[in-house]
């Protein structure tokens, strides 16, 4: 699972056009919603909605499989392990020595696995429909300080550069017959060091140069900085935001104030 797959997939879908601020807020609300729900039926409904969003956003199959490969493994682990460690249910299905499998345990395991799918999907949808540039811009508009946002943007910009540096040094070492993953902990540590020392030294030099470049480009010259591009909310954005907020509020009130089993 190495290498750089940029999850962002360019397309002209409704989700791609949505204001990134709305998407960030919606992702947080939908994540909380997934945590609030505990009935299998509602979780399945939420999961179905996620699949619908994946289709609306025209998710690419290969990137989706890449992103979900780890998630699916975790889901299987949960389904298998949850009932073993949760013997609290009443309907006993199987008893093997100290291990007691109950019907409620199996359902809880399934529910948790589906919740993990919903959580993974909603964050993946954010990442594949929103460019990194828009993400940072939205965070700044949502209140992140400009200088912090700039630092974050710069780090995302240099990520592929350093990724490529690591890969090329790794290849060079491999060409000299060095296997990174061989030997004990100390041996492996030294192998990795041979890759990381040159990478880090290069990166720190870059940081020094970068600070000179930032100043030469009038960084911090005025407090009333302007912005070339602004984000603007369209009617559809307000509708989407309102819909997510209403569903979340209803579930929250229903679950915690009215004690409806959701």
């Amino acid at each position: 699972m190495t290498g750089f797959v940029d999850l962002f997939t360019e397309a002209n879908s409704a989700l791609h056009r949505m204001d990134p601020r709305v998407k960030i807020v919606a992702v947080i609300l939908l994540s909380l919603l997934a945590l609030i729900l505990s009935e299998l039926a509602y979780l399945l409904a939420l999961a179905a909605f996620m699949v619908l969003l994946l289709l609306i956003g025209r998710a690419s199959l290969s990137k989706t499989m890449f992103a979900f490969s780890y998630v699916f493994r975790v889901m299987i682990l949960i389904v298998v392990l949850w009932p073993i460690f949760d013997p609290s249910g009443a309907t006993v299905l199987l008893e093997l020595g100290p291990v007691k499998i109950t019907w409620e345990g199996v359902l809880d395991g399934l529910g948790t696995a589906i919740r993990v799918f919903c959580l993974a999907a909603v964050w993946y949808i954010l990442m594949f429909t929103t460019s990194q540039r828009d993400l940072v811009r939205a965070l700044v508009k949502l209140g992140l300080r400009f200088d912090f946002g700039l630092s974050l943007a710069i780090s995302l910009r240099f990520l592929p550069t350093f990724g490529a540096t690591v890969e090329s040094i790794k290849d060079a070492q491999r060409a000299r017959g060095m296997e990174l993953d061989k030997g004990g902990v100390a041996k492996r540590a030294r192998n990795y060091l041979a890759v990381l020392v040159p990478t880090t030294v290069t990166a720190l030099k870059t940081a020094d140069m970068l600070s000179l470049a930032l100043q030469s480009r009038a960084y911090g010259a005025r407090a009333d900085r302007t912005y070339l591009r602004e984000l603007s909310m369209r009617p559809a954005d307000y509708v989407a935001l309102a819909a997510v907020a209403v569903v979340f509020a209803l579930s929250f009130v229903g679950r915690y104030l009215l004690s409806v089993p959701l």
């Binding site: 190495t2 392990l81 710069i154 780090s155 540590a189 720190l204 940081a207 911090g220």
Partner: protein, 182 residues
């Protein structure tokens, strides 16, 4: 083209931003953490894989202090989660690795960063990370999953801590080639 008028007057107030040096350094350390987390990954039977991103958290904490360790370690590792497609884990990672960098940075720099302090820092910081993941996974994924992930996390701290320690020593030599005379 004419110059803009507002620009010609002396600037009314320079912005109170953090210094460009800090912006640049933190950006680079964060990018390094994310890049190393994403590229240097090793398949493992239980968890699927482990990575040596840990080493950059410890490196940042030991070399540039707890603030860099916390911010760059936390955000850099969380960004890797987001970019690899399990963004739902990013908030947990932010806390796990952020606290790891914070604690390792504070303890590891006691007495000017003596080797024993750094080892104590790895132990304490690593404990924060392992504990955060364990309890968060217990709550969200169940006890069974939390248990299977535990050994991989411990191994990751040991390897990452060792590499981070050696890296901070090696880079210190590069940054100050001539040791200060007593």
């Amino acid at each position: 083209m004419e110059k803009n008028e507002g620009e010609r007057r002396p600037p009314p107030a320079p912005a109170r931003f953090v210094s460009p040096k800090v912006v640049a350094l933190y950006a680079i350390l964060t990018a390094l953490t994310t890049a190393v987390t994403m590229t240097l990954v090793i398949p493992l039977p239980t968890r699927g894989y482990y990575n040596v991103g840990e080493s950059m958290v410890f490196f940042a904490a030991f070399t540039f202090g707890w603030r860099a360790g916390m911010i760059c370690g936390g955000i850099g590792s969380a960004a890797a989660d987001l970019l690899l497609g399990y963004g739902f884990f990013a908030p947990i990672t932010l806390v796990a690795k952020g606290s790891e960098g914070l604690v390792a940075g504070i303890i590891g720099n006691i007495k000017g960063g003596a080797p024993w302090a750094k080892i104590a820092g790895i132990w304490a910081g690593g404990s924060c990370m392992v504990a955060t993941y364990f309890f968060a996974e217990w709550i969200f994924l169940g006890f069974g999953v939390a248990l299977t992930e535990l050994p991989a996390n411990v191994f990751q701290v040991l390897l990452g801590g060792l590499i981070g320690l050696m890296l901070s020593q090696a880079v210190a030599v590069y940054r100050n080639p001539r040791p200060k005379q007593a």
